[in-house]
Symmetry: C2
Subunit: 377 residues, 2 copies
Amino acid sequence: MASVLPLSGLRQSPEPLSWLNSIIKGDCVAALEALPDQSVDVIFADPPYNLQLGGMLTRPDQSLVDAVDDEWDQFASFEAYDAFTRAWLLACRRVLKPSGSIWVIGSYHNIFRVGAMMQDLNFWILNDIVWRKTNPMPNFKGRRFQNAHETMIWASRDPKAKGYTFNYDAMKAANDDVQMRSDWLFPICSGGERLKGEDGKKVHPTQKPEALLARVIMASSKPGDIILDPFFGTGTTGAVAKRLGRNFVGIEREQDYIDAAAARIAAVEPLGKTELTVMTGKKAEPRVAFNVLVESGLVKPGQVLFDQKRRFSAIVRADGTLASGGEAGSIHRLGARVQGFDACNGWTFWHYEDEGQLKPIDDLRARIRAGLGKLAD
Amino acid sequence: MASVLPLSGLRQSPEPLSWLNSIIKGDCVAALEALPDQSVDVIFADPPYNLQLGGMLTRPDQSLVDAVDDEWDQFASFEAYDAFTRAWLLACRRVLKPSGSIWVIGSYHNIFRVGAMMQDLNFWILNDIVWRKTNPMPNFKGRRFQNAHETMIWASRDPKAKGYTFNYDAMKAANDDVQMRSDWLFPICSGGERLKGEDGKKVHPTQKPEALLARVIMASSKPGDIILDPFFGTGTTGAVAKRLGRNFVGIEREQDYIDAAAARIAAVEPLGKTELTVMTGKKAEPRVAFNVLVESGLVKPGQVLFDQKRRFSAIVRADGTLASGGEAGSIHRLGARVQGFDACNGWTFWHYEDEGQLKPIDDLRARIRAGLGKLAD
DNA sequence: TCGGTTCATGAATCCAGCT
DNA sequence: AAGCTGGATTCATGAACCG
């Protein structure tokens, strides 16, 4: 039976949601019943990998590799694992907002089955992301390549969903101003970040690095969003969500993991609003109609605009449209028309003459946005 | 109907196999009927990815992206794609030797379904390999991460198969003497390597780089092995196989691709035996029994061996076994016994004294292998 | 001939918001 | 709900072209 353990909340709402910023104890599918339909923005799931280990594995020095042999990773067959996967994915699907997205991490043992099931359940894969480990465990027997990565699937709830969050500009800025790729490089979780028990042993066998979760959350959610982790473990998702100003919900069966996660999350200090501000691109800026430039006097009716190479020209009309050789329309439509294209960004295509030089009219828009419109003659 | 087109053969056998080093024209499953059971060593398959593209895609400069919209990549549903996948995988399974292995390449559109089906059909995944592209196509609309990799699944025919070829030492040597990882970095196929028609257009939309195939073939096959590619396309697998002294079989439906592949392969000059000699490590070296060291006089009966720290010692007996404190056995057994381990590499555990210094008996084995046994006193 | 610039292109499930 | 419109959006590579 699932029970809700409230933690220190991040979110003060007029109708407080009892499950927000808490860890729900119980089986994943049963516990999800505590959540309403379409109530979470992002799901990060780190399900059992269904490792099928033959026996003990020893290193060349005969030391024993501490394998993942926990009870929760044992399944009788692929069919059993598929049934389990289908059940939790469906439960997650119900609580995910139509504009939400889901991440699932796995290895070659399970990720193919998970990915196929996600497609069968009508999730729409956006990317598969490869987590390249800087320090993977070696292959001790020399019979395979070193297994040096894990795979994450990022998917929207529905094939045609357009509303999912992707902070493209923030990702690009974080990657030396080129697009963030689908292969990410991070160390495995170790050192001080790795939770250890009083006996010095790791608390959870598959604790994920916070850096990995940070990129996931920064890429696909906004501050204040609700992030669900149905296999909470020791709460990496919750800790990072709290630090990044997001709300979280965790589901976990084992009391030991819950205790460790709760203590860990309580110690997290959320970042301030300033630190959380992300790079945004033009899409986020307020719309300025070309007409406003005419009205403000930055562009005058009758003025002639050119493309950068003066191959085309057009005359500004008083209503904020352009005319050229019998054709007329918006700066975008006419830009497309004269070039024979379907589309065109008129702001960067059309230029005005200033002291003999051609400058894009986008510069004038920038002045409006900066509040300088009234200063223009 | 499938027909066999013989090419210049690499292999002269007393019972020539008509399909060897040839391209079989026809549908993959039907054409595979021409091959006997358990007749090929390695399969490399690059099946249709089942891309589901919405419409046209333009770059920011309004140019049109030349998408993969070929008829052979169209499937009515996931079910249809699964049925197709199951059929060709089963046909491949029949012709694959029990000691063989199979590679399948794909993207997130299809690889999860392929991987799950491979598991369902009792293939045993050895690795999933990520091909990281140095120069992937960008994401033009800024709505996802740049799709910068493809995934290959490497699997043995059966779960307990141990005989598959993996040239571990060659891979390690090629990777600056550290284990080859599961993420590989290669450019996409372009420039002079990319086959172009008379119109200057690419002959095949998805030609793979030869470097990728070279690593696959070098890692998982031996010279003289037979490599099957059931989706031959323009014959990258055949060209690389021939160059690396392997035999190939290709299956392809489109005559245009067959013509291009045949001409391409005919122009390939196989490497010589010297160039093909792979870096082989200890596993490939001839086995040397400890007894040989005793017989050759490099180790003398009654001589005392130690571990590196002189915590343990043992006496060499004339039959090539060791004795220590009432226990006796092979260098490996006794090494394990004195340490309380299940296993031990006696060659590196036991040391002999030489001018006051302890040196591993493995050094003596190396002298035998180098033909220096008789020079020893 | 050399160096700089322009241009084409690659397995791609690629827009959002308002009327 | 479907359609319309504003306008945002690309990286590495090699060939072609130019001065």
